[in-house]
Each structure stands twice: as structure tokens, then as C-alpha cells.
């Protein structure tokens, strides 16, 4: 018995030594101090795992694009909670030599701000917030534009005239999305309503899927989402209904349900910003790019999309790009019947991002709580 055991151990040991020998570590010794001025290293902080197939996945694609285009080394950390842990991770990354940090979730804002104050020589980019400092940029995209377009697809597709929308947190960003989507839906189908369920979490595949299932049970036949994963897509697929994704092209998850998705394309912006830092021309800003910059777009329609949708989307897209359709133009009523935006008035960026943007447009069934 004892002999067998020790033999077993020896074999394991031998295996380990052998395998580690072959394992081949291309130990990339930092090739001394490059005489090319300053060395940059970029850190990315994600709220979910990069395998979420959604938000963090899209962010990570941006990181890989940056690495490929500029050859700048990057590191990342997944599943960082939106609390003090975030500041610790930022400090960890700076300790590891990062001098550019991207924090890619709304709840990281205050921690990023604190770290930015403590590290004036490090460049910070916070995604989806509103706070800026001399060394901290706030950046985001006008996701409400492609969301409006995806609403057109959903509005044309629905047969029950009930569309489900699984939403994360009731912050202006998400409310903008729901409202723009609903306006898109009703631009082609004035009878349709959008039913909202809140999950109060960005990333929880099971909870997101459950919320979508509940909406399907209430009679919705198209599911849209403002969540980080493809959970709601799966629910639609399993129920034999249709869906609008978010973040990335989600066709692989729900081939029979998925029609299109408003998507992110972060890479070019990251390259442009890091390049500006390298060139010494960088200045912090509050960046909010629209479809014309390509940071947001609508994914190609699949064959699940209804007839005529492609043409309708194309037409509406042209109007958005030309500036003719700014989406939040009055008259707009909220879902209690109160007039929120009078005829002829368009909400300003300031109004769209402020705390007062806490209402749901006519046609949404649900509350902001």
C-alpha cells in the first residue's frame, strides 16, 4: 500500500517536472529602460467577467484592440465590485506600474475620483459617469441612438404588442435607454407598450434570465435588455420568442430569437486617447460620442428581424446621423400623462444626464423604482 502511494507520488512529481519543462514560459523580461521617453502601461477594471458575453466582453475587446494597435502593455481585473475594492484594485495596478487606468462601470466613479486625486501623475478614464478632473476623463457613448433603432425592429416584430425590457439600475443612463427604445418602438407601432423589470444588478445571469422569463409569462413576445449578460436572450430563445441584445452581437447565444443589438465599439476611442497621452496632447474631457463616431452602433439585423425593418432602420439611422432626429424632442409625455418636453424643445446633454431625468416616457409600463 505504502509503496503504491509513494510510486504514485513519484509519478505525479515526474509529470509536473516534465510538463513544467515543456510548459515553456516565454519570460518576457522587461527589456530594460526603453530609451523611447516614457513607458506606458494601461490597466482596465471590469465589473463582470470578460466571459460575460456582453458589457465586460465588449470592454475587453477594446483593450485588445488598443494592445494590437499601439503595442502598449495592458493588464485587467475582472469582477471588481462597485465599492471600496475598486480603489484598492486601482492602487494595486498603479503599484504594478500602470499609469493609465480605465474604470468601466458607473459605480466605480467615486473611487476613481479619489484615486485620481491621490495620483495626479496617473491618467484616469471613467466610463459612464459625469465626474472629471484634470487627470480624469468621463467617457461614454450615445447608446440611446442605436437603442432607438433597435426599438424600431422590436416594434415591427411584436405580435402581442407587448415588449419586455430587463433593466439594471434606475440611473439616467438606463432610463435614457428605455425611453429611447420605447420612442423607437412607437415610431412604427403606436399601440405597443414596453414592460420594464428591474434587477438592480449589472451582472447576474440567473436573475436577468428570471426577469425575462417573468416578462415572457406576462405575454411579451420580444425581450430587450440593459444588462451585462445574454441571460435574457436565452430566456427568449427557450420560449421560442424574439429578442434584442445589448453590448455585443449576441447571435451565437440565441440564434433563433436574436434580431439585432445596440453595440459598443470602444477600441478606436481607446487608441485615440492613449495616443494623445503619448503625444503629450491629451486633455481630460467629458466625452459623449454618438453613432457618427462609431463608438455605438446597431449590430447587423439577422433573418429573425421582421420584413421592412432593415429599410426602416436605415431611414431612421440617416436622420440620426444628419442630426434631423435628436430622439428626445418634444412633445414628450411621461407614462403618467404629464408633459415633460414641450413641442419644439429638445433635451440638452445636460438634461439627459442629470438626476432630473428620472421619468419614463409614455408607453412604458413600469415605474422608475
Amino acid at each position: 500500500m505504502k509503496r503504491k502511494l509513494s510510486l504514485f507520488l513519484v509519478i505525479i512529481m515526474a509529470m509536473v517536472i516534465l510538463l513544467t519543462g515543456c510548459g515553456g514560459s516565454e519570460s518576457e523580461e522587461a527589456t530594460g529602460t526603453n530609451d523611447q521617453e516614457k513607458q506606458y502601461k494601461v490597466g482596465f477594471i471590469y465589473v463582470g467577467p470578460i466571459g460575460d458575453g456582453g458589457w465586460s466582453y465588449a470592454q475587453n475587446e477594446g483593450r485588445l484592440y488598443l494592445e494590437e494597435k499601439l503595442g502598449v502593455p495592458t493588464i485587467y481585473k475582472e469582477s471588481v465590485p462597485e465599492e471600496a475594492e475598486c480603489e484598492k484594485v486601482i492602487n494595486d495596478m498603479i503599484d504594478e506600474g500602470c499609469n493609465i487606468i480605465f474604470t468601466t462601470s458607473f459605480g466605480f466613479m467615486d473611487w476613481t475620483e479619489r484615486a485620481a486625486k491621490n495620483h495626479p501623475d496617473v491618467y484616469f478614464f471613467h466610463c459612464s459617469g459625469y465626474k472629471t478632473l484634470e487627470n480624469m476623463t468621463a467617457y461614454f457613448g450615445r447608446m440611446y441612438q442605436p437603442r432607438y433603432l433597435s426599438g424600431i425592429v422590436a416594434g415591427l416584430k411584436t405580435e402581442s404588442n407587448k415588449i419586455g425590457y430587463v433593466a439594471a439600475h434606475n440611473i439616467p443612463e438606463v432610463l435614457r435607454g428605455i425611453n429611447a427604445f420605447t420612442l423607437g418602438v412607437r415610431s412604427v407601432n403606436p399601440d405597443a407598450t414596453v414592460h420594464v423589470k428591474w434587477t438592480k444588478t449589472w451582472y447576474d445571469p440567473a436573475k436577468e434570465k428570471e426577469a425575462a422569463k417573468a416578462l415572457l409569462a406576462e405575454g411579451c413576445d420580444v425581450i430587450a435588455q440593459h444588462q451585462d449578460t445574454a441571460g435574457p436572450q436565452q430566456a427568449a430563445e427557450e420560449a421560442g420568442k424574439w429578442s434584442i441584445g445589448y453590448n455585443t452581437d449576441m447571435v451565437a447565444v440565441a440564434p433563433k430569437a436574436y434580431m439585432t443589438a445596440p453595440i459598443w465599439n470602444w477600441g478606436p476611442y481607446y487608441v485615440e486617447q492613449v495616443q494623445a497621452i503619448m503625444d503629450g496632447t491629451w486633455k481630460s474631457e467629458n466625452y459623449w460620442g454618438g453613432m457618427e463616431t462609431g463608438i455605438v452602433d446597431l449590430a447587423p439585423l439577422t433573418e429573425n428581424a421582421p420584413e421592412g425593418a432593415a429599410e426602416a432602420v436605415e431611414a431612421a439611422k440617416a436622420k440620426i446621423l444628419s442630426g434631423e432626429n435628436k430622439i428626445f424632442t418634444g412633445p414628450l409625455k411621461d407614462n403618467t400623462g404629464e408633459l415633460r418636453v414641450p413641442e419644439g424643445v429638445t433635451l440638452t446633454d445636460q438634461e439627459l444626464t442629470s438626476a432630473d431625468f428620472n421619468w419614463l416616457v409614455e408607453g412604458v409600463i413600469g415605474t422608475v423604482e
Binding site: M1, A84, D92, G107, H169
Partner: protein, 360 residues
């Protein structure tokens, strides 16, 4: 047939040997995993793990910070465990301590700093202590099972914080995002050598708890009661009062940790305040053999493992799940070896040999 039997006392050298072997086996198993799953060199990963914990002054400070919380909670749990009162409720007691302290921090930010912090410390201990008193009272009065009650009360406390964070205490300036407002500077513990002052509390508490358990009348009573209630009765120990006092202290130390985490680490209250420390501390308490000095060492090692595990994710680029898997494997082996130190597996022939084709 396999039978599990309790071992006679094992020599110190032998048990130390087994523990060393367990760690080696853990590293070997992880190494296989690292090579097969990630095609990385295990040594690189282990060196990074070590560097991540002790590689710079900043990282050492981080280790000290998380070891502080672990140590204080483990000390609290030790007092209850000595009495064989299985306090699994560290999480809840941390939450309630943090809640009591945060109430003061959020409502009296203009109070002078020393006064506010002192009151917050007392409030934190009171919060944790009172939360622990509930299961203690049930146990003393109706002999309920404290393991289940303390465990369940974790969830009550956690949901209470969730309610506060998503409801009445939600920061109106956060645009609807569910977070509680950050504390004013007055409510934040000062730093000593770059780490919040909690680490000094932890060191003092190691000494105090050690004296309390080994050299005080109450500490002795707790130990006797833990060994046998009848002996304690015979010796004239007031059983109910001893249970209540010990468990209150146990909860108070957890509550103190809650206050420290809220004030110095998070600068606010949140549902993530306890971060599983209450559960992790059960492991460190066991591995520290309920001895305060050992607990301190184990807590530091554990904190280093966690900090190093976090570091290797970014440094070597392995997924978070794998980093946690490595930590889990190491723990599994270390805890598993305790089983083999206390018990042995006996292979014995059955009394009546079942007929087989050939004899072995």
C-alpha cells in the same frame, strides 16, 4: 472495509510533517492544473503569488489591512468556540456593528473626530454584541441550536443592509445608483505607518484575549463550560451568565471589525462590508487552534494568500476563477490534513470473508 478511527495523540514533529506535506501536495496539484489548464510555468505563478503579497511596501500594507480584520473576527469567534458555542454568525455581527457605527457617522459628521470615532467604536461593538446576544439568549434559555440561528441571522443582517442601501439610506446624489453616502473625514480612522490604526487594535486584542482566555476567572469558566456542562455546574459556574457574557464579547469583536471596515476601508456602509470575513475567520480560527498568537500568524498568511491571489490575476494574467481555485486547493489540502492528524483511516479485513474468485 474502511473504518475511520480517532488517533491517539500524535507527536509534534509528525503532525508538523503532515502539514508540510499537505502544503507541498497542494502546490503540486495546483502546478498540474496551472500547466494543463493555462500552459503557464507554475514556478512563475508561485513567485508572482509571493511577490504579490510581499513584493512592495504597498502590498505588505494591503496584507496587514486584510489580516487586521481577519484577526479581530477570529479572536471573537475563538471566545465562542472555546465554550463550544458555534458562532457562525460573524458576518451578521460585522454587518450590525458596521450599521450601528455608520448610523453615528452619517448623522453626526460635525462631531469632533476623537469623540465621534470613540462613539463609533463603542456603537460598533454594541451592535455586534447585541446581534450575537439573540442566539445566546435562545441557547441559554431554551437550548436552541446556535449554529443554525447564528447562520440564519447573517442573512437577516445582510438583507437589512440591503434594504438600507437600496432604500432609506440611498445617497440622493448618486443619481439613483444604490449606494450609501461616503463618511465625512471625521468618521474615518487615522493611519499609522500607512495602514489604518485597526492593526494596532488587532495586536492589542491578541494580547488581551490571550490573557482573558488563559489567565482570568471568566476565561477559565468558559473553557470548563466548553469541555463539560456538568463539570461547570458542579464547579459552581453560572452557566447562563457565562454564555451571555462570552457570546456578547464574541459578537462585540466582530462588530468592532464592522466598524473598522466601514470607517477605514470602505469609508461607507455597503452590503459588501463583510466580504465573507465572518466565514473565512472560522477557517483561520480552526487553523490557529483557538490560540490568539497562532491566529495572528494564520491570519497574516491567509491575507497574504488572498492578496497574492489577486495579484497573479493581473501580473500573470490568469482568470479570477482560477486564482480562487488555487486558493481553494491550498485550503482544501491544509484543512484536509487536519483530518488525518486527528483521525486515521484503518483498512481492515471483514470478519466474514465474502467469497471471491481468488485470494488477494
Amino acid at each position: 472495509m474502511i473504518r475511520i478511527a480517532k488517533r491517539a495523540k500524535m507527536s509534534k514533529a509528525k503532525s508538523a510533517g503532515i502539514r508540510l506535506l499537505a502544503i507541498l501536495l497542494a502546490l503540486l496539484t495546483s502546478a498540474v492544473l496551472i500547466v494543463l489548464a493555462l500552459s503557464l510555468h507554475p514556478l512563475d505563478v508561485y513567485i508572482a503569488l509571493f511577490k504579490g503579497a510581499f513584493g512592495s511596501a504597498y502590498r505588505i500594507r494591503e496584507v496587514v489591512e486584510s489580516a487586521t480584520a481577519l484577526t479581530i473576527v477570529s479572536l471573537g469567534i475563538t471566545i465562542a468556540f472555546k465554550m463550544q458555542f458555534w458562532n457562525i454568525g460573524g458576518e451578521g455581527q460585522i454587518c450590525m456593528g458596521a450599521f450601528f457605527a455608520s448610523f453615528l457617522a452619517l448623522n453626526f459628521p460635525e462631531m469632533s473626530k476623537p469623540l465621534l470615532l470613540t462613539l463609533m467604536i463603542l456603537a460598533g461593538m454594541l451592535g455586534g454584541g447585541l446581534w450575537a446576544l439573540i442566539p445566546a439568549y435562545f441557547k441559554a434559555k431554551w437550548r436552541t441550536n446556535e449554529t443554525i440561528i447564528t447562520l440564519m441571522m447573517n442573512y437577516v443582517a445582510l438583507k437589512w443592509l440591503t434594504y438600507l442601501q437600496f432604500g432609506p439610506w440611498k445617497d440622493p446624489n448618486a443619481l439613483g445608483f444604490p449606494k450609501i453616502a461616503n463618511f465625512a473625514d471625521n468618521a474615518i480612522l487615522p493611519e499609522v505607518f500607512g495602514v489604518h490604526i485597526g492593526w494596532i487594535f488587532a495586536l492589542i486584542l491578541v494580547v488581551l484575549v490571550s490573557i482573558f482566555l488563559n489567565h482570568s476567572k471568566k476565561g477559565y469558566e468558559i473553557a470548563v463550560l466548553g469541555e463539560s456542562e456538568n463539570t461547570a455546574l458542579y464547579a459552581g459556574v453560572n452557566i447562563k451568565r457565562t454564555i451571555i457574557t462570552a457570546v456578547f464579547i464574541s459578537g462585540a469583536l466582530c462588530g468592532l471589525t464592522g466598524m473598522i471596515q466601514a470607517s477605514a476601508v470602505n469609508n461607507t456602509l455597503s452590503v459588501e462590508i463583510s466580504k465573507g470575513i465572518g466565514f473565512t475567520a472560522i477557517i483561520t480560527t480552526w487553523l490557529g487552534f483557538l490560540k490568539p498568537a497562532f491566529i495572528l500568524v494564520v491570519s497574516i498568511l491567509f491575507a497574504a494568500l488572498v492578496q497574492g491571489g489577486s495579484f497573479i490575476q493581473t501580473a500573470v494574467g490568469i482568470p479570477q476563477a482560477v486564482a480562487e481555485l488555487l486558493q481553494g486547493l491550498i485550503l482544501f489540502f491544509v484543512l484536509g490534513c487536519e483530518f488525518f492528524i486527528r483521525y486515521k483511516v484503518v483498512l481492515e479485513k471483514p470478519l466474514f470473508n465474502v467469497r471471491r474468485g481468488t485470494k488477494e
